[in-house]
């Protein structure tokens, strides 16, 4: 996808509460229901990651999109599994898929975290949505992994003390 429309890309348009987002279909491995989504042990949870999902014998850490994007809590309905990253996104519904040829840069007026969250804006037939950067979740997942590792370590040390 470029700014001159010489190539196009399919995006998945999804919803978190009433807000719509887009993400490149190439970045999505699978869209699944909430079956199998489990709460992490309390000591392993972070603000953005409270769930995990086993899928094809691989554990995915699931990011709460509403929390990640600083939105009010929203009822989750689906999980977007991101390709090649073992990251899931807890979302509302998936609206549709659309081929887009132009990625508009985020206007310079936007100077906050959104510059890390979004690759830009895309025009759909019925509006404008931000295009989520699949790499935007790396930090929150990194924090969650460290948190889980510390929890496991603390758990094993406690177990060792009783051995």
């Amino acid at each position: 996808m470029n700014r001159k429309g010489k190539s196009s890309e399919t995006i998945v348009v999804f919803r978190v509460a009433d807000t719509r987002f887009g993400i490149s279909a190439n970045a999505v491995e699978e869209i699944c229901g909430l079956d199998g989504v489990q709460l992490l042990p309390r000591e392993s949870r972070t603000r953005g990651v409270k769930h995990s999902l086993m899928r094809r014998e691989r554990e995915h850490l699931v990011v709460d999109s509403a929390s990640f994007f600083h939105m009010l809590p929203a009822r989750p309905e689906r999980v977007l599994l991101l390709r090649g990253s073992q990251i899931g996104l807890l979302i509302g519904g998936v609206d549709y898929m659309q081929e887009v040829s132009t990625l508009h840069r985020l206007p310079h007026a936007f100077q906050g975290d959104e510059r890390h969250w979004f690759l830009g804006l895309v025009r759909l037939f019925d509006g404008i949505v931000p295009l989520v950067d699949p790499d935007a979740f790396d930090d929150v997942i990194g924090i969650a992994k460290r948190h889980i590792a510390q929890a496991v370590l603390a758990d094993s040390e406690t177990a060792g003390a009783f051995a």
Binding site: P107, A109, Q111
Partner: protein, 151 residues
């Protein structure tokens, strides 16, 4: 649009100013950076952490951010938002970007000469227009928006 590079030069060259109401006061912008006054379009919002940006709208095929500068100018959100003043701001690298400013009523063009700011005025005031029964602050758009972002 003028090709002037510095606010000082523009201050002399901008012969007219667009006056617009926000709250109970009127403010002004140099007319050379104002593109149009439009009825509010369909606002599209999405999560962000930049203060006072309401979202974006589509205007003449361009995606235009909507910046509610009313809070800094009048101390409260623009309530009526009867129009959007579309203005052009300079961004990094000398590029320009449109921004939509919600205003509370119709605009007026004034050709009164600009006077230098006096007294303790906010940094975003680049000058004053002395009108009958009214002193209008001429805004430095960039400073207003930057101030908004820092709040």
């Amino acid at each position: 649009m003028s090709g002037f590079d510095t606010p000082e030069i523009r201050l002399e060259a901008a012969l007219s100013y667009v006056l617009f109401p926000i709250g109970s006061k009127r403010f002004a912008l140099p007319s050379d950076i104002v593109s149009e006054l439009a009825r509010p379009g369909r606002l599209q919002s999405f999560p962000h952490t930049t203060p006072h940006l309401a979202g974006v709208l589509l205007r003449r095929g361009q995606i235009v951010p909507v910046c509610d500068i009313a809070r800094i100018l009048s101390g409260c959100e623009s309530r009526q938002q009867r129009f959007h003043l579309i203005a052009e701001r300079k961004i990094e690298g000398g590029a320009r970007e449109w921004v939509a400013l919600p205003v509370d009523g119709e605009c007026e063009l004034s050709n009164v000469p600009i006077l230098p700011p006096t007294g303790k005025l906010p940094a975003y005031v680049q000058g004053l227009l002395s009108l009958p029964n009214e002193i209008v602050e001429v805004l430095d758009l960039e400073k207003v928006i930057t101030m908004e972002s820092k709040r």
